[in-house]
Symmetry: C2
């Protein structure tokens, strides 16, 4: 039985409930909230979602989310471009920026190697990191990958590929709880992990 008296409501609920962590009941609550707001507010929300996906760019250098060809971090002359922090995704960049402890630049892999999920070395932005090392004057690579099997695998893979191309490869200290994603670590712990980084060893 169709419990929706409006096709528009049904469509909005169906679309909202496709978002991760949004069940049908929450989607109904969100839709009814949107209905109670001004037209202008629903339009800014809807357009922000559409523009985000259609207009966003990825930095040609570090693959971070960007509004221009080169992101604000890479083009910031005050950042130390000789230190590259390698992270899994954009959330990690935001989390590390939040700590205020890192003044280098980033390299966003866009994933970690995970044979279970069919993600191999060719599916992450590893080649472009090797290219960066040949073009840029890089003194240190910091591996800030998740403390998971996949993160460790990716770190080991990168270490093997990069070890003879850069002076120093370090990993963030395991102040971050094992098994936790970087984004869930508190700022002090995550900041400490970056400042107390140690040479890569296996």
């Amino acid at each position: 039985m169709n419990t929706y008296s409006s096709r528009l409501l049904e469509e909005a609920v169906s679309e909202l409930s496709k978002l991760p962590g949004i069940g049908r009941r929450t989607a109904v609550r969100l839709a009814l909230h949107i209905l109670k707001q001004d037209v202008a507010k629903s339009e800014s929300l809807g357009n922000a979602i559409i523009k985000l996906r259609s207009e966003v760019k990825y930095c040609e250098r570090c693959h971070n989310i960007s509004d221009a060809d080169i992101c604000a971090i890479c083009s910031d002359s005050k950042r130390d471009t000789s230190i590259i922090c390698v992270v899994e995704d954009v959330r990690d960049v935001m989390a590390i920026e939040n700590t205020g402890q890192f003044r280098g630049v980033y390299h966003v892999l866009g994933g970690v190697i995970s044979p279970m999920d069919g993600v191999g070395p060719g599916d992450i932005n590893a080649d472009s990191l090797v290219v960066r090392l040949s073009h840029e004057n890089v003194a240190e690579i910091i591996l800030a990958l998740p403390a998971t099997t996949e993160g460790d695998t990716t770190g080991f893979y990168l270490f093997k590929r990069l070890n003879d191309k850069v002076n120093s490869i370090s990993v963030i200290s395991r102040g971050v709880a094992i098994g936790d994603d970087l984004e869930f670590a508190d700022e002090i712990t995550l900041g400490k992990s970056i400042t107390a980084r140690v040479p890569y060893s296996r």
Copy 2:
């Protein structure tokens, strides 16, 4: 410090976190999910939100959400228009429709009387219910309002206004939920279900 490398991302996160129950962290997660999807998917989500608010109508008879001037329930010839179930909002209509136990029609108040929140009798769709009683052939009004002080106040107000205009006014039964253990029911509900006991039948 600005931790967003993209103004588009910042705007989307800001808009999403205005939704009830969506914090900044969840908003970032949703935004990054949207980024990973096809353009078409973000467009259907964004447009569904915009269209929901700009194109939705409210049924002229029962104030339910509708795509036309009269909603699908009111215009359904198989529904019993002599029984009107009075509810607070559209969610209640959907919840009752979900049970499949009610074949009458609805009247959506759009709120309950709450002096604390500045909602008076004039702010809910009560007048239009009185008008319906004079125009339509109504045998019974079912009050399906929240079991709160506000719901009770609203029910009492409506009872006083409608009592001489309709044969029967009933309220939905209150008691221990089906499948619930007695020990988990709150004292007021359990007390009410004992005083409002009904003859045993099977």
